[in-house]
């Protein structure tokens, strides 16, 4: 029984009114301009609490034609919105092979995510996208993949993992090391088990020292430490590392010591965004616009960027 269920509270009429329902939602016909800021209306088909303050949400286009035509590349992000509260940027954490829905995962920290927290199945929210660049899945073909994720940063890794598993023949060994502060902070726990069932896939899960529960069967330690201990072979590998800055900072030396070059260590840079299309002037790191040239980049690229992130 997820502890998060206790956070469900009865929606007042206001909250119901706010989210709106799918059946009667629409966009008035015959807009005279193509408005790049106009979102698609999405119906929420599932919300799942992952931790006490993290939820994953699956949405589907209300417009069937749009649902058929839409595609994205794994790693891209979208701007999701709750009407009346605002927009927020999240990675699309479902695999690009899945045509039935899009998924995103968020932590409840502010105005919009608080509103998203109350969104239920059947509600309607907005989506703009896909924006940004994608994981270079072509370049990764034939390589061994190392996925390192920390805490809430797991979802952007998750979509890459699923993509790789669905195109299993294209990739070599897959290693996933995922850790969080405590057991309760781990997201997509059930999927970790599923992944381990695939051939040549190794999943190592860990929690920070002090974050374990009595029945914890995984590793105890910070992700960099656990990863080093895991003794993953380094040849012909690329790595995707996403997590809090401190985790990345400590993981990089481990990777480099193993002989994995900065040019094949990838990460996803996050910055505050608003427009997502390079116009509002907010997300740039020097001349690198996270929403246009990112968010995916290699450590080699990152090292050349000014310390503006």
């Amino acid at each position: 029984m997820l502890a998060a269920d206790s956070y469900r509270f009865r929606l007042t009429r206001r909250e119901q009114a706010r989210a709106g329902k799918a059946a009667a939602s629409r966009r008035t016909p015959k807009w005279t301009m193509h408005n790049i800021y106009e979102p698609d209306l999405m119906k929420v088909i599932e919300t799942r609490p992952q931790t006490p303050d993290v939820k994953s949400v699956k949405v589907r286009f209300l417009d069937e034609a749009r649902a058929r035509d839409f595609s994205f590349r794994v790693g891209q992000f979208g701007i999701f919105s709750v009407f009346g509260y605002g927009e927020s940027t999240f990675n699309i954490c479902s695999s690009s092979n899945w045509k039935d829905y899009l998924e995103f995962c968020f932590r409840r920290v502010g105005c919009v995510t608080e509103a998203l927290w109350s969104v239920e199945e059947g509600d309607v929210i907005g989506f703009r996208g896909p924006y940004g660049n994608a994981y270079p899945t072509e370049e990764w073909k034939g390589k061994n993949l190392i996925f390192l994720g920390g805490g809430i940063a797991m979802p952007p890794v998750r979509c890459a993992v699923w993509y790789a598993l669905e195109n299993r023949a294209d990739y070599g060994n897959i290693t996933i090391v995922y850790g969080a502060r405590t057991v309760a902070d781990l997201v997509y726990v059930d999927e970790l088990d599923e992944w381990a069932k695939h051939p040549s896939v190794r999943v190592v899960r860990c929690v920070d020292p002090g974050g374990e529960t009595p029945d914890w069967k995984g590793e105890i330690g910070f992700v960099p430490t656990v990863f080093e201990r895991a003794g993953v072979p380094a040849e012909n590998s690329v790595a995707l590392v996403i997590g809090p800055p401190i985790m990345i900072k400590n993981t990089l030396p481990v990777l480099y010591r193993m002989g994995i070059q900065p040019s094949v260590v990838y990460t996803s840079l996050e910055n505050r965004m608003k427009c997502g299309v390079g116009k509002c002037g907010r997300c740039n790191v020097g001349s690198f616009y996270v929403c246009k040239e990112g968010p995916i980049l290699t450590m080699a690229q990152l090292e050349r960027l000014p310390a503006d992130y």
Partner: protein, 475 residues
Amino acid sequence: MSEHTVAPVSVAAVCDRRAEFEPKIVAFVCNWCTYLGADLAGTTRLEYPPNVRIIRLPCTGRIDFNLIIKAFEMGADSVLVSGCHPGDCHYTSGNYHARRRWILFRELLQALGFDLERIYFTWISAAEGHKWQQTVKEITEKTRKLGPYTGLYRSSAASVGATLVVAPEGGHEGRPYDASPAGVGATLVVAPEGGHKGRPYDGGGEAALRETCRRLLAEGSVKVVIGYGRRGPVFVTRPEDVEQLVWNNQCLANLTVYLKRKEIRALGRPAIVVKGCDERALVVLEKESQIDRKEMYVIGMACEGMGQAKCETCEAHLPRFADEVVGEAGKHPAETGERWKSLESLLALPAAGRMAYWAREFERCVKCYACRQVCPMCYCERCLVEKNRPTEIEPSATAKGNFAWHILRAFHLAGRCVGCDECTRACPAAIDLRLLNLSLAKAAEEHFAYRAGTDPKADLLIGAYSLQDKENFIR
């Protein structure tokens, strides 16, 4: 404003409906007295019009003035504010605080042109069901006669009584460009090569100032001097750099604003150059426990006047609490103007004219918050306008958003603004912000004999209350 945003009722719609106009009245009432009084009216079957919507708060002291404005924005035609009788507050003194705030807030609303006939203040106790009934009946009837409140933020030129000058026929050409700093389009002209266009004072303050600062820095008693430079404020950390400091008739900025900025504080113990008007800010800041006078060295400048509006009514020619005063005293021109003259001209307009004036002024407001950033009293790390859970003040530069912001700013400075007029100087849209601050300063002086920054021993205005505060506007 598009039809999609919440807007005041349109005049056309109103004219059609006048016959069947039902006033909408919002009542902010305290939980312990008035709410129970209204409840009593109900349980004793006293009939009163259904036009009032009650919003219950723990205490009148909790009522944020924003709420009153918001009620009007959302379509209320009248607002009633009611609580426990003085002396009976459930929280002992909440209503005393509220009363003091209301006295001041009414003056601000008056200056802005709000229709004060639509705002009512009462004390109604839990036993006064009858009074509740009477009050609501009275307000409803009065509002019915007044009609719907269509004048909110209305800028129709027809109702502007003042000579709001736009260029006369034939335009504005022909006036020779005035290259002086007080000329068109600039108050602080950037002149890096030639230095300030400021006229140096004869009192010789500049040389003495530099000497003082050289000494202070050399002996290490201060780590940085916050002073006036040729182009703007400078932060001198080395004795040999004191030549950057100037003292002339263009030293307009109020440097005390830098005392709370973290980048400046990181430089170490400061010496700060203040004029008499700026020094008042130090008094208020210290009173509010924001600075410690012992942690800085205050260099007061004997000012000869800067040619600003405030200088004509200045009585702070010489800083009184400085650690050291530099320059020759007595060279400041005596007060010639009347402090409230421009405010009185504004108040001479009818309410609709005042509101039209402000609506037109605020049309130019771009929400740059220069007024906030230059103000030494605006030291909150995060301003209320930046709050979005919930959004109390709309950040957009619309009529609603601009009025809300300027009301907030002015009222949060009630009893704290020292009249340095920096906000007005900083405004890139040339909005006469000082008028708003003046209205509250006048209220403070007339009602409470209080002038911010003049008496270090006086209690703060809004933080305190008196049992003798007048309540002739409260029924």
